[in-house]
Amino acid sequence: MFVAGIDIGSTITKIVISNGTEILASMATPTSAEHRRLAFRVMDDALASCFLSYNEIEYIVATGYGRINVPFADQQVTEITCHMRGINFLFPNVRTIIDIGGQDSKGIKVKDGKQVDFIMNDKCAAGTGRFFEQIADVLGVKLEDIGEMSLRSKNPASISSLCTVFAEQEALLRLSEGASIEDILAGIHKANASRIHSMIGKLKIEQDVAITGGGAKNLGLVRALEQRIGFPLVVPPEPLITGALGAALIARETATKLTPQQLKEKKAKRRLEAVTFFDDPKRGSEIVL
């Protein structure tokens, strides 16, 4: 039985196609503003890579902040549940999950394979990928390099502001004062780790603790968090796709509960063409993104 999970995050769109036991295809590509069209594009690519068609996929679960914009999905599930399922599948001993996404960060508590509590950051970019992106941009370094660079610091700079816009200025001031980029980045990571830690702390941290999402790829952040929390974190081999994986797992679970007839009816309801604002001549706007 083929199933798929698609996770449209604020920054990256991820997809997992599975035959029910193993992953056949997984992809991650930047999210653009036009989710519907994007969903088709990544799905088309993923299907092509394992020589499948939409009709052969029994059940598709969409998750992530753009989950409602996936016309061909059979069901929408929040990324919180999907991350939990993905991590629980990979690491059954994990009790606490930290997900650092592009524009939010979350903590999830798991007990006996069930989600018992969760928390999301509150309308502030601190502790999210967006924060690091802005800082990397301002400092003129590559986003994927900042973690490693921060680990080379011996004397982390003091960054007090956790507002991205003001931290940006602070970083520039420190830079102008002669602090090295490494030290500034270390300061930035420290400040964010402390912010994330106090958010997760509300859930009562229990071992094992896993970190997922784009933030898990930032080694500097992972180390800074480990230092705060006091023990090592579990990092999945491909932290970006845990949400999509969880979605695929849910898809399989749901599909097995349905009769072939029900599955067929579901599939018939899928919309396989993106009718969107951008395709609608009546709306007549010239925005190109």
Binding site: S158, S160, S161, L162, E170, L173, E177, S198, G201, K202
Partner: protein, 453 residues
């Protein structure tokens, strides 16, 4: 330019000799409590209740410590952050009162250490209490916070003292004041029976009377120091006041506090007599409201140095009240009633000004309207607090009233009592630098309007 960090830790250079001695009283409160506990005396954690509960508890042999003061203390030595973080992860919203979060974090660390004060607690920590004495005056935090301490001080009872805070108009309704006082006295009696029950001992009325007499004397002399501060140039600025306020505010019944104020008075008087200002080149006089950034008091030294600004008077609620009119205490012998009248007077004493200026609430903004003229204020320094709404709610209104009614302009520099992140000294300096021109302008306006200063 000084670096951000160094500004934040700027300690204040106190100008008065006596102000430099005042630190003794803060430490005394904490260490006396720990000693008292070792000797088996009951400890109470008390909110500032403007002397409503303090003397009664103390007269019954209870030793009081003040978590609010402890919050300011932790902030001043920059050791509040770890406690704030604990409170945060306990689930308390991080916009709650900074003092409260500091205390909740400390209480959790106390419980987790089996009620033995953890090593390294600032100032030796707060001894474990048998009573949490809350207050309904001024703000909700001061009973909600103690109520939520139940999580960590499992079986310690909370008592909440009542104090009416009527609107200005309501205050003047016929007989209302006496009715309010009757309510307070009744509640104080309830408090006494609660305490007698808790401590299994009787209130010693004579002892209470002695403490009260001493306290009224101390408050009186502290008030006289305030009167001296009307002098130009200002003999004593806020940086000094924030140090010397501790004894009268927390320990007015302590004879040591009284003799301390005698010395403060003498020192300030000498300055006034000889025309000596607390700061060199006083050019502008400002009133400060509300609680200061305890971690950065040195900011105000810098304002003096750069712009010749003297902070001549500060939040009314930390000052000793004007002495009560004699007829107010005529024939009153019940110490509980004297206490009720004292605290009520402290809270309502500016209502007359509020009525004159047609502004409400009297208790939070009217004092500045009176003082602007008495202290010849050129400006109003408003310090909105990120984590204290009650102290911040009326600031804008006070500033608006001062500007409209007395042509005294205000400057707003946001910060916090504890949280270091909000206060930006550089931003503050640049606002004040421009504000200096504004004060000049309003001086001209007051002159044109024929006002006295």
């Amino acid at each position: 330019m000084e670096k951000d960090n160094s500004v934040k830790t700027m300690k204040s250079a106190k100008t008065l000799k006596t102000a430099r001695e005042a630190g003794y009283f803060g430490k005394k409160m904490l260490t006396d409590a720990i000693k008292a506990q070792e000797e088996g005396h009951p400890i109470g954690w008390s909110m500032v209740s403007w002397w409503q509960g303090d003397f009664i508890a103390k007269a019954m042999g209870m030793h009081l410590v003040y978590p609010e003061n402890y919050g300011a203390f932790c902030a001043a030595v920059r050791q509040a952050e770890p406690y704030l973080e604990i409170a945060d992860s306990e689930g308390f919203p991080n916009n709650l009162c900074g003092y409260a979060r500091n205390c909740l974090g400390f209480a959790k660390s106390l419980r987790d250490n089996n009620y033995v004060i953890p090593e390294g607690a600032p100032g030796g920590g707060l001894a474990r209490p048998v009573l949490l004495l809350a207050s309904g005056t001024a703000c909700d935090a001061r009973y909600k916070w103690f109520q939520s301490l139940g999580r960590y001080l499992n079986d310690v009872p909370v008592w909440n003292l009542e104090m009416p805070q009527s609107g200005v108009k309501e205050y003047y309704l016929k007989d209302n004041k006496e009715k309010n006082l009757r309510f307070v006295v009744k509640e104080l009696r309830n408090f006494v029976s609660f305490m007698e029950n808790l401590l299994k001992r009787k209130l010693d009325h004579d002892k209470l009377k002695v403490m009260l007499d001493q306290a009224l004397k101390t408050l009186n002399i502290a008030w006289q120091v305030d009167l001296l501060r009307r002098a130009v140039p200002s003999p004593m600025v806020s940086q000094d006041f924030w140090s010397v306020m501790i004894p009268h505010f927390y320990l007015p019944d302590d004879p040591e506090a009284y003799s301390f104020y005698e010395r403060v008075y003498a020192e300030v008087k000498e300055r006034v007599d000889n025309g000596i200002g607390a700061i060199p080149n006083e050019k502008y006089r400002m009133m400060f409201s509300e609680l200061p950034p305890w971690h950065s008091i040195g900011f105000f030294d810098e304002l003096s140095k750069r712009y010749g600004i003297a902070m001549v008077m500060e939040s009314w609620n930390y000052h000793a009240p004007t002495p009560m009119p004699e007829e107010e205490l005529d024939g009153v012998t019940d110490p509980l009633e004297i206490i009720a009248r004292l605290t009520y007077h402290k809270w309502m004493e500016h209502n007359e000004v509020a009525r004159e200026f047609d502004t409400s609430p009297g208790f939070f903004n009217a004092a500045y309207l009176k003082w602007a003229k008495e202290y010849r204020a050129d400006g109003f320094f408003a310090h909105p607090l990120m984590s204290c709404r009650p102290a911040t709610y009326t600031l804008m209104h006070t500033r608006n009233s001062l500007e409209e009614k007395l042509k005294v302009p205000g400057v707003v520099v946001p910060g916090d009592i504890i949280d270091l992140r909000v206060f930006n000294a550089d931003e503050g300096f640049s606002k004040v630098e421009a504000f200096v021109e504004t004060m000049d302008h309003y001086r001209d306006l007051r002159k044109q309007a024929g006002m006295a200063w």
